[in-house]
Point group: C2
Chain length 449, copies 2
């Protein structure tokens, strides 16, 4: 029987990061990573295999870091556990001191009549499946996308680049409904319509039609939309089969229960990434956010705390920070939206700013930047930001994420020293973070006697 000090189950970003971090921290421990897949895909790159990347292979997560870090790679399936021994599908048994579950997530399958027809696809993290989907997309003219979240819109953007006739159908009243406020959803609708997509929001698919193979969808209002294929992207659910088999506590909707050091209900067994239940850093409530970046932060924490807790590292709950690009416009979010703050019954103040991302604005290639900040009314702390603009949004939103994680207030943001450059950022006079904070401060100020 093989034996390792540390066994990581799952080869996605969470598992890989855990392995690298464990190796750095514990140079003398033996480490193995067990995964089902021969090759692993970069999860956030998956939509881009459809058009931007030539082949699905271009989106492979390289195994170099596994080998370079002296981690033994085992391609197999864990089917159970007996005390501190893992049972593999191949019949092999592996002894461990510590186990980290990084089992990931799988597409949520909405209960729609006809969802199992041939020609209905999900955004799965599976190489063969995606190769086939890429092929089918190529052959199709009309495609229906069910879902209006980030991934659905990234898929839509890719399909539009391929000049497909795309129809997006979202159940909730706007695009990006769970992650951005209405004005941003409206912008996304307008961009996608300009690119030629048909967009239906507040619209439910009653059934997916077709004899044998899909030929379209019927909406609850009776309207029929033709489709050569249907792509469903309505969220993900944690992979919990292994937790069940291993006898770990979990919550069906949220994932494997972990403490602040990501340890499960059993000593020495940890869970990270999409399969682990997460709590919001604002409210402590369960959070459905599944992000590679959160998984990374967890992986680094677990990897370095496997055998001894290092007190300086505590995972204080999930802060959702993400960005996307639709057409030539990028969107970014960190923390709470206004509608989330309202729903939570929080008292808040909104600060906004609109400017351009170069200065002077007459420089070629300048894009409009719109910024919305949500501050806690009494603590003055920044709770959330939403931004729309050019490609710089990707790193800009990380600046906001750092601001939120440091619990900075409007006054502190107002006197931040930031750098600007004509070709790379908005003007210092119009710098969005500062001006939107000043806008919020002005609102407080005017309220006061």
């Amino acid at each position: 029987m093989k034996s390792f000090n540390v066994v990581i189950i799952g080869g996605g970003p969470a598992g890989l990061t855990t392995a690298i971090s464990a190796r750095s921290t514990y140079p003398d421990k033996s480490i193995a990573l067990i995964r089902r897949e021969k090759t692993v895909l970069i999860p956030c790159g998956i939509p881009y295999v459809l058009a931007s990347l030539n082949t699905v292979e271009d989106n492979i997560l390289p195994d170099g870091p596994i080998h370079n870090n002296n981690v033994e790679l085992i391609v197999d399936n864990v089917v159970g556990r007996r005390d501190n021994v893992l049972l593999l599908e191949s019949g092999e048994e592996i002894k461990f001191d510590r186990v980290v579950l990084a089992a990931g997530s799988k597409p949520f399958i909405p209960p729609i009549d006809g969802i199992d027809k041939e020609g209905v696809y999900f955004i799965k993290k599976d190489m063969e499946y995606l190769r086939n989907l890429k092929e089918k997309v190529k052959e199709s003219k009309k495609i229906v996308v069910i879902g209006g979240g980030f991934i659905a819109l990234e898929v839509t953007d890719e399909l539009l680049k391929l000049k497909k006739k795309v129809t997006v159908i979202e159940k909730l009243p706007n695009l990006l409904p769970l992650v951005m406020d209405n004005e941003f959803g409206d912008m996304a609708i307008s961009i996608l319509k300009d690119m030629g997509a048909d967009i239906y929001v507040d619209t439910v698919v009653e059934k997916i039609t077709g004899e044998g193979r899909v030929d379209g969808v019927v909406l609850t209002n009776g309207k029929k939309i033709d489709a050569d294929i249907v792509i469903v992207s309505t969220g993900y659910t944690p992979n919990l089969e292994l937790a069940e088999k291993m006898g770990l506590a979990y919550n069906e909707n949220q994932g494997i229960i972990v403490d602040e050091y990501l340890m499960t209900s059993e000593d020495g067994i940890f869970a990270v990434g999409d399969c682990a239940a997460k709590r919001s850093c604002f409210t402590g409530d369960y959070s459905k956010i599944m992000l590679a970046s959160t998984a990374m932060a967890q992986g680094r924490l677990v990897g370095s705390n496997l055998f001894k807790i290092k007190v300086m590292k505590v995972f204080n709950g999930t802060l959702g920070t993400f960005s996307t690009k639709i057409g030539n416009v990028s969107f970014g979010v960190s923390g709470l939206t206004e509608s989330q703050a309202k729903k939570l019954g929080m008292d808040y103040v909104v600060g906004t700013n609109e400017t351009v991302d170069k200065h002077p604005g007459k420089l070629p290639g300048a894009s409009k930047v719109y910024t919305k900040l949500i501050f806690s009314r009494y603590s003055h702390i920044l709770l959330g930001v939403q931004v729309k603009g050019g490609d710089s949004i990707g790193e800009l939103v990380n600046m906001y994420s750092v601001i939120i994680q440091n619990r900075m207030t409007d006054m502190e943001i107002d006197t931040l020293q930031i750098g600007t450059h004509p070709l790379l950022t908005p003007s210092p006079i119009a710098y969005p973070a500062i001006n939107a904070a000043a806008n919020a401060i002005l609102k407080w100020y005017k309220e006061k006697p």
Copy 2:
């Protein structure tokens, strides 16, 4: 005699920001802004009038914010003061309760034989002068640039876009010698050489030659370089004439002496921006850094503290954060470089990372990103960052600036939650801030017993 509660002298970004901030904070006060220039230029945009912008007029700082904020604009020259009355060149006198000097800076003129010849230009913040320079550049084939700092290289980049034969001459041993470490200076040299420039470092100009009008330069090694015009960009010095006339304390090399609230040696008189002496946020020593972004932070602080100190706002010294673009490569700096840390006798640890700014790296348009972080050895606090990469560097360096201003440690950076997107940022697994911090942590870790 006209009378105002607040008079701001100087119409650049520092003066303008002070005016806007004063208006927001004190809606009932009368505010005037006195400036010499009929129209003001965006200072950081000035290099870009040479090629990227069609006309110098495209780089005008608009007066809209002055008028929209009910600030009276007076175009005149302040020539002296009698108690709380300003004396203007036109003969007019203006009574004030508070004055803010935002007098800016002017090009440093190096003591080179022939520097006053016709055909020698400086990067002045003067519309007419720049119009003439733009014209002369157009007519020239061979141009010598004296200086190798950010502005000199931005000018060089613009001249290369116009297909001029450009020679850059820097006295110190590398390009960007005062602001970035050697490896970055080497990259700048290599980029500019690839674009066709001749670069001389560690090289002193002995004299500028030509009968009547410039025809070249002679180096101390005897070499002669032909030039139709010479552009000198070797730094700026604070405008101190007005401080002298107003009887304020100043330091000839550093600027007008101000306290932490930017008040000068006289009650009720403040100074902001390039004309004010600044101290480093790391050492408390005088700092020569002149940045619009620092001026902004000061202007906002003074504008809101003119009549009553609001304790929550304190300017804790200058943190230099800036970015630039040379060819298609962007550079960014925040805080201390390694060579500065070494010179200060600090104990430090360096963490580095190299990756690409999209993921997978096979996505079109991906640029290499190189990151260098400098941590204090004992406090583990981030002291400085230098980065090289694509256009996202502009906002990326602002994220680092926020990290430094929050005095975050390597461990805190290691578990930051950041957002990533295939088209907009590096991969979460390779995210530079985190991986460079982890690289530094590993170095500590290995040193320990």
